[in-house]
């Protein structure tokens, strides 16, 4: 039995201490936006925020998380997908299959919280999640767009 603060709600969960946070979130809490991709903190599909820091939840045991830790999943990032990152992602139609995008968005949101106007080098360093569809070019553009940076081209011919 553990008590977790997830998306601003206190939740009691029944799981062994070694259970990775990913599986607690998916199977105990029932929030499936956080994805399983590799289980070894390589791909980042399971990224969540813990006290504002982006973390790979597949490699964090339940025992390492305290009741006082604030965990935010993709479902709790904003109301109505209104976070600037989510809006930029929508504007540029970033996702293809979409499976990695929860993690990509959480990584980008954490980057912008720390570095509001990231350079390309900042983005290179922070955005290390794997996207197998290869949406990287649009991810980069969308991070810049979310940061409100000038000089970023948006495909103005897009319609609909």
């Amino acid at each position: 039995m553990a008590r977790l603060n997830i998306n601003g709600e206190m939740r009691d969960v029944q799981a062994e201490a070694e259970t990775p946070l990913l599986w607690v979130i998916r199977e105990q809490i029932g929030l499936t936006g956080t994805k399983f991709g590799c289980g070894i903190a390589q791909c980042g599909a399971c990224s969540v925020h813990i006290n504002g820091q982006v973390q790979r939840s597949c490699s964090i045991p339940l025992s390492a998380v305290q009741e006082s830790d604030k965990i935010v999943t993709i479902e709790g990032l904003s109301a109505n997908a209104s976070h600037p990152v989510q809006k930029a992602w929508a504007e540029l139609d970033v996702p293809q299959c979409g499976y990695c995008q929860s993690g990509q968005i959480m990584a980008a949101a954490a980057l912008l919280a720390k570095t509001p106007k990231p350079s390309d080098q900042d983005i290179d360093a922070a955005m290390t999640n794997i996207c197998r569809c290869g949406t990287y070019q649009r991810i980069r553009a969308a991070v810049h767009l979310a940061a409100g940076q000038s000089g970023v081209t948006t495909p103005t011919e897009r319609q609909g």
Partner: protein, 732 residues
């Protein structure tokens, strides 16, 4: 604003269900009708009239377009809707989609055609009948409106789902006449004249995808996210050596572990642990002592496979090929002869959503929730594994977290899940593969080696070319009933004589192409771009070698051989022009160029790279040109081209699946590396449609990415790269 609110409430109600069932330990019977993913559309669809198989229009004008193909990121869902909507003349902002199931398709005599989605066929094969479906619905709606307004149908016009009678200044909406339209006798599809694609208003434009919103807030449900009342979870392990068998498992060792329900032996080569949660199943399986009888394949390794393929290069005789003239004689008499042997490794798909399937089997019904590229193949696998006839089976098909050819004809993951579920009649069992299992048991992009020999005359003109390809056959493994041999051998993709799909694009005076089939024990299958990726590297890199040997500019060397292949040439020229080919580059940056044809489309690429004195490669920019005939959604075509570069570059930089002791050794992303954002070059896409054919989009441009980069490396270092991946090649 309304949309936002309704989207939010839909999300909340779903979350309430998820949380409620989780709180009750997964056992709370909510009376929820399955399939949950299709609930909304079907429930509403039941109230709304189906104008025809493709189109349902609700009283509020919401237009539901039925989709038979799989959406796995490639944008086919949006593209197909654009084609239907274009002919339907509905309001694009009111379009939603409904994924039909294979059971429905079967029950209606396959009214939606084939459901397989691979080979970049999703749009090009179905475009004609989905457009006719949209047009037929429009004709029926117009007739219903004419009957309602009591005017001749010829006096009516329609735009955005509103039918207008100009003479009487009356109008009527699709939603108002849909019920009546459903009763109108459908027109003969052959009698319908489709629009000229040049006049398209919805299709042909870069409209946004229809399926983006739920991918931004975690609300999208993939098959791996399926949660059903009372559901159990399973983890699986197959014999790591292909062809090996299960010897023993020591179940007692995991008997006391939390949540474990059962250890299931599947066939003679796999073990599953079924538990209350997936984490319990996965961790118990990891703790379960399993002994395998690996059999004779346990001694196979990379070196023995390479030797086997090398034999195919040097042996006499072939399993397919074609040519013209006398290449041997031309090369023997040439002023200069060049020869090279290239090789490419096995590759795994590594879809981001790991293999999974949820199945529920009872005495008279079998259901499966499958991330599938071919729902009818899933249905067949479900029927076979459950032992129930097809009409007692149904497959629900959430959109996929990646496919790339892994989830088409090969439905191994369905068989395994159903075998586990059969042990729990009436109880849904979700089986998820670990990443390790996914990379250990793929149907890999086959290995091949290729020897190329070219002869140049005094003027540096190519007078003869011999290509001898040795490698594993996908058809021999997956579809042995499909005849192999001859000029259309699948391994020769991109080198076919006939136009249309993947034609060899050079006139080389004397040509000889041979394929020697050399199979291994490793399972092989389609892989995004599959053989074109290998054959484009072999041919386009060798042409680069020959151009350099001839002292010619690589672009001019190619152009001189392409007069008979105007479409190949045009796309090559388009890439060269966009890339400012011939203009100076910054110091240290070098260009490479390549062209190829596959999946009915023409592709070319120009790469700009630099190689440091330490041999470190940086790919700065890639310009890709594509002629796919008709461009249904240029925005999504760009996205596919961008993604194809990442897919191709990942293979070029890192991709290999080493075999040791009969099994794969690189079983997670720490070893099977995938390119990250920092390595992504700037990509520019030039779409040059000629409006006279329908080509594919998802795969064609992958194959030109790697040879363009390798040719740029050759320009930088003066040395050809003949083996992949680049991580094993010293560039300095």
């Amino acid at each position: 604003m309304t949309n936002t609110i309704s989207a939010k409430s839909a999300r909340l109600s779903r979350r309430t269900f998820v949380v409620a069932s989780a709180a009750a330990g997964g056992g709370l019977a909510l009376g929820l009708r399955v399939p949950f993913l299709n609930d909304v559309a079907h429930a509403q669809g039941a109230e709304a009239p189906e104008v025809n198989a493709w189109v349902v229009i609700k009283p509020d004008d919401t237009t539901v377009i039925r989709i038979a193909r799989a959406e796995m990121g490639q944008g086919t869902l949006t593209g197909l809707c654009q084609l239907v909507a274009e002919e339907l003349e509905c309001d694009w902002t009111k379009v939603t989609t409904d994924p039909i199931t294979p059971g429905q398709n079967l029950a209606r005599k396959r009214v939606w055609g084939e459901m397989g989605t691979g080979g970049s066929r999703g749009i090009r094969i179905s475009q004609d009948y989905v457009r006719r479906g949209g047009a037929a619905a429009r004709i029926m709606l117009m007739q219903a409106a004419a009957d309602e307004l009591k005017v001749p149908v010829s006096e009516l016009t329609v735009a955005d789902g509103v039918i207008t009678h100009a003479g009487s200044k009356r109008s009527i909406r699709y939603g108002q006449v849909a019920a009546a339209a459903a009763k109108v006798t459908p027109p003969d599809p052959k009698s319908i004249t489709l629009k000229d694609p040049r006049s398209w208003k919805v299709a042909g434009h870069p409209v946004k995808r229809l399926d983006t919103a739920p991918k931004l807030d975690g609300s999208k449900k993939y098959a791996i996210d399926v949660q059903l009342p009372g559901m159990l979870n399973a983890a699986v392990m197959q014999c790591p050596v292909y062809g090996g068998k299960l010897k023993s498992v020591d179940e007692a060792k995991i008997a006391g572990r939390p949540g474990v329900k059962k250890v299931v032996r599947i066939k003679d080569n796999a073990v599953a642990v079924v538990a209350d949660t997936y984490y319990h199943a996965k961790s118990a399986l990891a703790a379960l002592p399993i002994e395998w009888d690996v059999g004779q394949n346990g001694s196979v390794n990379d070196a023995s496979i390479a030797e086997h393929l090398k034999d195919g290069i040097t042996a006499q005789g072939s399993n397919g090929g074609w040519g013209y003239g006398d290449a041997g004689k031309a090369i023997a008499g040439a002023a200069k002869t060049i020869e090279a042997v290239y090789a490419t490794p096995f590759l795994a798909h590594a879809t981001m959503e790991p293999m999974n399937c949820t199945a529920r089997v009872s005495a008279d019904k079998a259901e499966a929730w499958v991330p599938t590229q071919n729902a009818e193949a899933s249905l067949a696998a479900l029927s076979e594994a459950s032992g129930l006839p097809l009409d007692k089976c149904e497959v629900y098909r959430p959109d996929l977290g990646g496919g790339f050819g892994r989830r088409g004809g090969t439905q191994d993951f369905v068989h395994l899940a159903v075998e586990a579920a059969k042990q729990f009649p009436g109880v849904p069992v979700k089986m998820i593969w670990t990443r390790e299992e996914d990379l250990a048991h793929d149907f890999y992009r086959p290995v091949s080696q290729c020897k190329l020999t070219g002869g140049l005359d005094q003027d540096g003109k190519l007078v003869g070319l011999k290509i001898r390809l040795s490698g594993q056959s996908i058809n021999a493994y997956l579809a042995p009933t499909i005849a192999v041999g001859g000029p259309k051998e699948r391994q020769l993709q991109g080198w076919y004589q006939e136009p249309g799909d993947s034609q060899f694009g050079y006139d080389v005076q004397n040509l000889q192409i041979e394929y020697a089939m050399r199979n291994t024990h490793v399972p092989v299958g389609p892989w995004r771009g599959v053989n074109t990726n290998q054959n484009a590297v072999y041919l386009e890199c060798f042409i680069e070698e020959m151009a350099r040997a001839a002292g010619k500019d690589p672009l001019e060397f190619r152009r001189a051989m392409m007069a008979k292949f105007p479409k190949h040439l045009a796309v090559l020229n388009a890439a060269a022009e966009k890339a400012d080919y011939g203009k100076p580059l910054p110091a240290g940056v070098h260009r490479g160029i390549a062209q190829f044809m596959g999946y009915g489309s023409y592709s070319a690429a120009v790469a700009e790279v630099s190689v440091s004195s330490e041999g470190k490669l940086k790919v700065h920019r890639l310009v890709l040109a594509l002629n796919c005939g008709h461009a249904v959604n240029p925005g999504q075509i760009e996205a596919q081209v961008e993604g194809s570069v990442a897919f191709g570059l990942t293979a070029a930089l890192y991709g290999e699946c080493p075999v040791k002791d009969g099994r794969m050794t690189d079983l997670n992303f720490d070893r099977y590396q995938i390119m990250r954002l920092a390595e992504m070059p700037k990509i520019e896409t030039v779409i040059v449609p000629t409006y006279d054919f329908w080509g594919g989009v998802g795969e064609p441009t992958i194959c030109v990415t790697t040879p363009a980069v390798l040719n740029a490396i050759q320009a930088a270092t003066g040395k050809p790269v003949r083996t992949l991946p680049l991580k094993n090649v010293k560039l300095a």
